[in-house]
């Protein structure tokens, strides 16, 4: 399978484009790094890929077919701030199992404890919430994971923990990952290949 975006252009104003003619492709099981300066449109590109943003020009497809707007999206996006990605009025177990019932082995590898299930999101730290967000996104139906600065807000140990687990899981499920970060060292450690947004974006 191959997630492809072709000739993507996006801008809030007509004469002020953030993305111009961006082309990118991500294969199953591939771990691709995307590096860009702050304000270069990385997050916008992520949102377009995962179907959060629809007002763009160009084409996003999987194996040449458009991604259906209804039903489970095979392209899942995980954000920088996990606090915003959870409903504060939901208990953790509901948040975790919103998409699918997360199997025990994934919970174990993420180190998610049963005792956290009945807690509210504000009782967990960012690193812990991010594990829930990732476990929720990595269902068997997920084919591509867009990781937008997912470990920018956590400490080095949690970062290493999270990435080691995610890389294991995506290998097993043959998921393609787009690692978006501004940290070159992290990307070079994780990814098979690196793309610089400045090189593919001709704004």
């Amino acid at each position: 399978m191959c997630l492809k975006c072709e000739n993507i252009s996006f801008g809030y104003k007509k004469n002020n484009l953030i993305l111009n003619n961006v082309n990118l492709s991500l294969g199953s099981g591939e771990v691709l790094g995307l590096i860009g300066d702050s304000g270069s449109g990385k997050s916008t590109l992520c949102k377009i890929l995962a179907g959060y943003e629809n007002n763009y020009q160009g084409n996003v497809s999987i194996d040449g077919k458009a991604i259906p707007s209804k039903g489970y999206n095979p392209v899942q996006l995980v954000f920088q701030h996990p606090e915003k990605a959870v409903n504060p009025k939901w208990k953790m177990k509901d948040i975790l199992n919103e998409g699918h019932i997360v199997p025990q082995d994934i919970l174990d590898s993420f180190g998610i404890k049963k005792s956290w299930f009945n807690r509210w999101p504000n009782e967990l730290s960012g690193g812990e919430l991010q594990r829930f967000a990732l476990a929720r996104a990595l269902s068997p139906e997920t084919k591509f994971l867009i990781a937008d600065e997912i470990t920018t807000m956590v400490d080095a140990i949690t970062q290493a923990q999270i990435w080691n687990i995610v890389l294991d899981i995506v290998k097993e499920l043959n998921i393609g990952v787009l690692v978006v970060s501004h940290e070159k060292k992290l990307i070079s450690k994780l990814c098979h290949d690196v793309v610089y947004l400045d090189d593919i974006n001709t704004v």
């Binding site: 860009g36 300066d37 702050s38 949690t158 970062q159 923990q161 450690k189």
Partner: protein, 346 residues
């Protein structure tokens, strides 16, 4: 070195400080004019929140315990720790801007004077300034120059405008920035505006709360250089961050925060190779987890705030734990020019 170790065995904070100065003297004579007393001294503070548990019962939630740090003029102290370890709350405690259900115990001294809540309010913004993390701290409906200047008497306004212009010039903020609103600024510009607000206040102690996340390398280095600048001008800077790499670039000392307490205060030089000069197993794990090092994770989690731990707070995850560690909190010891809270270091 032997002398130092003897001193270290006496193991309390005051000795630590003397020793720190001594070391500095031998290292650089140029820094000798530096004050011997710390500008800010935080001794054994603990912070808890009173919260409602289920129904009408109120419980106390301890978020910081037995914490001691010192900030010296002309130095940058980095406070490094994971999210939820209570770093930001430390900043809020020093500034006296905690919510009303917080309970703070312990001693804080600023410039040799006791820091009472009244005193905090008096010197907040004047002698102690905060560089906040996010752009949300700017008033979205106020022009930039007015925010930076703040409230001044009318007759001083012209003078303040000039000072503000000079500072902006220094940080490469063009004259038209003065008239802009916060939403018109880019991330890097906002950062510079926030920094110039602190400079403007002519504060002696600057507390920067997570000033770097999400910045690309160029902007990051630029931001860090502003703090280095302030320290060179004689300010004491406390840099609160989870990004150990950024901290290493500019700091003099690094305090490693974990679950509401400081496990180690290390010198920047200690962070090298495989971290064998680091004193605490947690600091070493943190160092080895960096992508450019081993990218190696240790198992487990930082304990939750409502979990009570009798022994060392790092006990569950420690590779070197022994029976002693599960009983009682280890004492602070000074070792090799740093402080550490661990039983297995000598």
């Amino acid at each position: 070195m032997g002398y130092m170790e003897n001193m270290g065995n006496m193991g309390n904070m005051e000795n630590m400080e003397n020793m720190g100065n001594m070391e500095n003297k031998t290292k650089t004579t140029a820094k000798e004019k530096k004050k011997t007393e710390a500008l800010l001294k935080v001794e054994n503070i603990s912070l808890s929140f009173i919260q409602y548990a289920s129904g009408l019962r109120q419980t106390e939630l301890k978020v910081i315990s037995n914490l001691s740090i010192e900030a010296h003029s002309g130095e940058i102290l980095a406070v490094v720790g994971s999210s939820g370890s209570g770093k930001s709350l430390l900043a809020h405690a020093i500034l006296g801007i905690l919510p009303s259900n917080a309970k703070l115990d312990g001693k804080m001294e600023y410039n040799g004077q006791q820091l009472t809540p009244e005193k905090k309010e008096e010197i907040r913004g004047k002698e102690i300034a905060l560089v906040p993390q996010s752009t949300n701290y700017l008033d979205p409906l106020m022009r930039i120059s007015n925010q930076v200047i703040g409230c001044v008497e009318e007759k001083n306004e012209g003078l303040m405008k000039k000072v503000q212009r000079d500072i902006f010039q220094k940080y490469d903020l063009k004259p038209d920035v003065d008239r802009m609103f916060p939403h018109e600024l880019s991330g890097g510009m906002t950062r510079r505006v926030l920094v110039s607000t602190a400079v403007m206040s002519s504060a002696k102690l600057i507390i920067a709360d997570e000033p770097t996340p999400g910045l690309d390398e160029k902007t990051l280095n630029e931001t860090l250089s502003y703090f280095k600048d302030m320290a060179n001008r004689g300010c004491a800077v406390i840099l609160i961050t989870h990004d150990i790499e950024a901290a290493l670039k500019i700091s003099d000392k690094i305090a490693v925060f974990y679950a509401g307490t400081v496990l180690e205060v290390a010198n920047v030089e200690d962070f090298k190779n495989n971290g064998e000069n680091l004193r605490h197993p947690y600091t070493r794990a943190l160092w080895n987890a960096l992508p450019q090092n081993k990218f190696q994770a240790i198992k487990g989690h930082q304990p939750m705030q409502d979990e009570v731990i009798d022994g060392c707070i790092f006990y569950e995850r420690c590779s070197k734990k022994n029976e002693l560690c599960s009983k009682g909190i280890p004492q602070l010891k000074s070792v090799n020019g740093g402080v550490v809270r661990c039983n297995n270091v000598s």
